[in-house]
Every structure is written in C-alpha cells, then in structure tokens.
Subunit: 250 residues, 2 copies
C-alpha cells in the first residue's frame, strides 16, 4: 500500500462493468473507461483525426435510428461491422478523411455498455494506450479520486484492459499524488510488469487477441498498444464525447 | 492458450461471485469455492480435525436459529466473531477437541454468500492452500470441467483468492488433462508466479491482509498459506459439507 505523507487522491481499478456497483470509491470521482480491443482505442483515434464529437448509444436500434437521421454510425457486434453502419470498430477505419469535423454515433458490444454503467453523476473520460501519457497527466491535474473501469469481454475480466489499468495506475502512483488500497490495482500493476517489454508476446495469452486473429481483425494490434499517439483526452459530457486537449499538444 | 492434442476438460477462474453468471463454462462442471481469508481455510481445518459435517447458512438469522436448536455455530461479520456464536472464522479455533465428530453450522461474510451463488445443479467443493495438493489430484480424477470461484472481499477481486486460483489452475494445466482459454486463469497464474517463493512478502499488498492485521486477526496467516496440511476434499452435497478422503490419505 502506498502511504503518501499527505494522502491525496485514490485510484481504484474495476475489472468489469458488473463489478462497478461494488467499488469502494465514493463521492466525487472520475471514471476512466477502458475497452482496449477496441472501442476506446478507436475513439481516441477518431479524435486524433479531428472528429468533432461522438455520440455513444447503447443499442443497435438507437444506432439505426441515428443512421436514418443522416448521421455517420459506427456499429459492430462480436467484432464485426454491421451492414447498416459506416464503420466497424477498427481504429484504422476512423481516418482523417472520413471523420474530420464530423459527429459520429458509436455503438459497440462492450464499450458503450460499460459507459451506460459508468455514467451518472461522475465525469467519464476515455482511456487507451494511444493517450496514456496525456491521460495520466490530465488526471494528475484534476486532483480527484479516479476509478479505472475495464469493459472486459462480455462482462468477464480481460487481460488487455487490465494491462492498461496497470500501466495507468502505475503512472498515477509514481506522481506521488495518488494512493491505492485496491487489490485489483495491485494485480493490474503486476500483470503490466510481467508483460514488460514484450507486450505483443504477452498478449498471445489474451482470449480476445485470439478471437480477433480468427476474425482476421488483428492488423490493428501493434498500433493499439502504442503510447503517445495522441494528446487528446475524450470526455463524455452526458450526451456526447468531446476532446479536451492536454497541455502537451496545445 | 494451452492446446492439448486431445482437448480434455476446461478450467476457468471467476474473480467474484458477482461475475459467476458471466462464466463461459456451460453444462456439467465442478465449482471450487475459494475464500482463503478465511472461510474455506477454516472449513478445511475443521475437516482435518475430524468434524463430521458443516451446514453452511447464508444469514445471521439462520445461524441464530440453528444455535437455538443446540448446534455449534461459527459466525463472523467483517472478520469478528459474533457474540452468540461458538466460533469466529479463525482456522485455529476449529481444533480437534472442539470439532471432532460434530456437526457445525457456518455463516461468514463472504464464503457462504459465494456458496449461495454457486450451488445449483453443479457440485461445489472447498479449496484452500491447506488441501491444494489433494484437491488438484481429486479434480484431475473427476474428468469434468472446473470453475474456480473466488469469494473476493465484499464482491471485489482480492489477491489472496486469486493467488490460490493461479496455484490450482497451474497444477491442473500441468497434468495435461485440462486446458484454458480464460483470461482470469492466465492472470491468476501470472500473479501466483510473481508472488513466487515470497508469498508472505507479496501478501503485504493485499488489502484484506492489512485489514486482518488491524483487527489483530493475522496470527493465522502463515498457516493459511501452507500446502499439504490435509488430504481431505470437502464437498457440498446440497445440504451440508462432508469430506471426501483422497487416495493420498486413505
């Protein structure tokens, strides 16, 4: 347990949306929403490529209704793009020529469902390896307790989200401005350290990595685990996601 | 992912009772119930010391009702023995002179609640470090899929149960008669390997270990993490827990 001399803010990790009601952090806190494969990685990509805003929706019916109203829609089920949609959830499809200046509607198997659980009185920000550096610095500047919410895979614990939770928790603890008494946070850090410098090798253990390989959707994997791609921190304002620019990129 | 040449049985790890409805293992399987600190450790101790059977109950009201009917009752809340009870949940209190040949009623914060979740059509057995060797050998002999259910702490992921899950999963995979495609199982094994030979040192990270220290209930910690204490595998038959003797101790 980190014992800061002047205890500051706490960081807690939640391994599944199903576990979110059980978190120990109360009162005012920020939720970092994580769905590394692939929603939050794709959302960070879209903002880096100039998307104006993203409207997350929880159901396919809502996604279709937005499509009928003329919006660009990203929607997938079990990793595959749905026929009516303009985008699946591969980060590579959110290129600048397709998204710059536009508003997208986004519906995914896991990620937006987790957002439904997290949204409420607390602000929700979008985390991925792409914006890890910027996010750590932004969170440190907020001076509030933080809960990292892993979307998991169909509500189950998943390795890739947990590795990210470990990487982010470690960054936050290293600032000396956060502390944790959360076993999930401790476990995440250890898994992140086990993965070490061979993240791609470690990911071979991840069931979702194998699933994407079978679906031939794994071209985006190395990019997904690259840090420093964007300095934008997407923030959900209750209706849509918009990007906050961190100092680094101003 | 382990790819046995002749795929045999699966092993899956569930980090919290709340996640149990999300498991991927279907059909016929055995549940290994784990609450290292402290219910399942104490139950294994009681059987090693000759208890005849243990009746698990979910609520304090039930526990009191059994007490009024003259039964010996173990009951605790947040680690502390309740006034009306004969035992708390320290393994050391279940000594041979107090339990041999008797039937106990058992109610704990976490462990029996997890049992409520797990019981149904599937058999439930009790796991702890004390019977790890016997349990691994018994499970291997069953030739059925296995789900290791961690009780956690107040439904949250906890390190001590996950370490046990890792130790048991590793034993099962090493027989070549099990395989897994479960990220929680992979993570558990890695945490178990990180803890390595300094399990006591690693446990300093565990929030429940710190909680027991504050309550001065941590005298039982080194014993709790000792393997090979008993060859008995407690099995829940739908009404009570009784011990199956494994070959090693016959």
């Amino acid at each position: 347990m980190v014992q800061a001399e002047n205890p500051v803010n706490t960081v807690e990790v939640c391994f599944s949306p199903v576990l979110f009601p059980e978190i120990l952090t109360h009162g005012d806190f920020i939720v970092v929403l994580v769905d590394i494969l692939r929603a939050t990685t794709s959302i960070c990509t879209a903002f880096e490529n100039g998307v104006r805003s993203i409207i997350p929706v929880a159901t396919l019916e809502e996604a279709k209704a937005w499509k009928d109203r003329g919006y660009l829609v990203a929607s997938e089920q079990d990793g595959k793009k749905l026929d009516f949609a303009d985008f699946g959830n591969s980060a590579f499809s959110f290129s600048r020529d397709r998204v710059e200046g536009k508003t997208l509607v986004y519906c995914t198997t896991n990620g937006t469902r987790a957002l439904e659980v997290a949204k409420g009185s607390n602000p929700v920000v979008i985390g991925s390896f792409l914006n890890l550096d910027a996010l750590a610095s932004w969170l440190t500047g907020q001076n509030r307790n933080t809960v990292i919410l892993c979307s998991g895979w169909k509500n189950k614990f998943c390795l890739e989200d947990s590795l990210f939770a470990g990487a982010l928790t470690l960054r936050l603890l290293e600032t000396g401005k956060f502390e944790t008494a959360c076993d999930s946070a401790r476990a995440s850090i250890d898994l992140w350290k086990v993965a070490g410098t061979d993240l791609m090798g470690y990911l071979e253990k991840a069931s979702h990595r194998q699933r994407l390989r079978r679906l031939k959707l794994d071209d985006v994997i190395p990019y997904t685990f690259t840090t420093g791609i964007t300095a934008k921190v997407p923030v959900f304002n209750g209706r849509e996601i918009v990007a906050e620019q961190t100092k680094k990129s101003e």
